[in-house]
């Protein structure tokens, strides 16, 4: 199975309404990004972090991925659009080949542990070799930010 584009995970919508997601840059939940190969099956039906299809825990890549840093003053509201932004995330000195990623909430344990937020499709395999693997986030504004509620 392959990646099929970027997806907002359906359970994330319910988690928002149930107040189980806190994106405050100070005092909010911890969010992580895990990297996956194209063997992963991730889409809007993904409910939580999974090790299935995740990049092997070798070198500097650790199972579960890395913690994301929520930019200051988040979440933000501009022109009736609420949006959230993360700092670019780098696996330094890494040898990684990944096709996509999952952002998930690493704080929540019930009703589902590590609930999924969004699936990110890199479009093709991206590889680092004894170098840096950096996921770069779009501009932090109401029209480009990675997660927006309009």
């Amino acid at each position: 199975m392959a990646f099929t584009g970027d997806h907002v995970c359906s359970n994330f919508k319910q988690d928002l309404l149930a107040a189980r997601m806190n994106f405050l840059s100070s005092g909010g939940n911890s969010f992580k990004m895990a990297l996956y190969t194209n063997a992963a099956t991730l889409d809007d039906t993904t409910t939580a972090y999974t090790t299935s299809g995740e990049h092997a825990a070798t070198g500097t890549y650790v199972a579960g991925g890395k913690a994301l840093t929520i930019s200051g003053s988040m979440p933000s509201l501009t022109d009736d659009v609420a949006w959230i932004d993360f700092a670019d995330l780098t696996w330094a000195a890494s040898t990684i080949t990944a096709r996509g990623a999952l952002i998930y909430n690493d704080t929540i344990t019930t009703p589902v542990a590590d609930p999924a937020v969004v699936v990110l499709d890199f479009g093709s395999d991206k590889s680092s070799s004894s170098g840096d693997f950096t996921v770069t986030f779009p501009a932090a504004n109401s029209t480009d930010a990675v997660i927006r509620i309009t």
């Binding site: 994330f12 590889s127 986030f137």
Partner: protein, 76 residues
């Protein structure tokens, strides 16, 4: 109607070493200064020129920071 949207992310990789200073300077400036596609041409041109200036400022700052860090490490 309320919609939740996710925007595409980018990936930058390197081999046999890390990213260049120019990469980090470009990323910093891109995150700080966004030039909209729909902006009126005079404003857009001005913003692009400003972004180029800021790129040089940030790049110079990064170089200074690295030189300073190397100097500090020599002290250990």
């Amino acid at each position: 109607m309320v919609s939740i949207m996710v925007a595409p992310v980018g990936v930058a990789t390197s081999s046999d070493g890390g990213h260049s200073l120019e990469f980090f300077a470009e990323r910093i400036v891109a995150r700080l200064i966004h030039v909209g596609d729909q902006a009126p041409p005079p404003i857009r041109d001005q913003a692009i020129a400003f972004r180029k200036q800021m790129f040089e400022v940030v790049l110079a700052g990064l170089k200074s920071a690295i030189e300073s860090d190397r100097a500090n490490r020599k002290g250990f």
